[in-house]
């Protein structure tokens, strides 16, 4: 723990990585949803 306390840039790094992972998962979910909507629209036509 004292290592992280002395090198607090790694805490910034971990936080940024978590945020990036969250954004990435959100994009994945949105992409998937969009594909489903596209498919449904095609079936309706």
């Amino acid at each position: 723990m004292s290592f992280l306390h002395d090198n607090s840039i790694y805490i910034v790094l971990i936080i940024t990585l978590i945020i990036w992972t969250g954004i990435f998962l959100l994009l994945m979910a949105t992409d998937k949803r969009l594909k489903i909507i596209e498919k449904e629209l095609k079936e309706q036509e």
Partner: protein, 236 residues
Amino acid sequence: MRIDLIWKGLLYILMSFVIVGGIAFPLVEVTTEWYHFPLIPGLGEQAKIIFFHVPTSWLATISFLMAMIFGIKYLRSNNLDDDAKSLAALQIGMVFVILATVTGSLWAKFAWGSFWHWDPRETSIFVLMLIYGSLFALRSAIENEDKRAKLSAVYSIISFLTVPFFVFIMPRIMAGLHPGSANDDTVGPVMELKMNGNMQLIFFLSLIAFSILYFWLWNMTYKSIIIKDKLSKKYI
């Protein structure tokens, strides 16, 4: 589907690596290990902005280029899908131009002493934002969608003609503080920054990662615009 997953996985890994490298790799005066960055006098840790700020402004340029390409395509095909692609590129380009300006302004506060003081680079990006911002005003002012698409395509072609001037030429021929300005004798032109091999590696990986991210966002945005148009035609 499979190829999709490969691209997304590659993007995730690349961007994670760029974040790890760009934030945590140490700056040292004499580089000995492969992961060391050279310490640039006067910049210090602030030099790390290059891994995130330059790709955003690069992508803004790319997406304005895409907007022009699909504008030309629309004028030739009269297919409204091309207009949706052009609009998606414009929207994402606007987001990235704002990101580049905000990150640059934050950096300027600590490197130059104030958030905004009309450096040639700041002035040119401001004019560029005005030019492209007015395109959205133009689009929202016209109801007929064919007319709107046509005018927007022509405007995106004309306004892209100013992009090379504002992004590449004007900030370089005028004296200023931004790296790459005409009187910049400490850092040199942008690409010849005192980067070592490792810094260049992270920088180009960052460009690649941001480009993949851009095309993904663009793909989703134009698809959703097309779907929205389809639905609004169906129910009116």
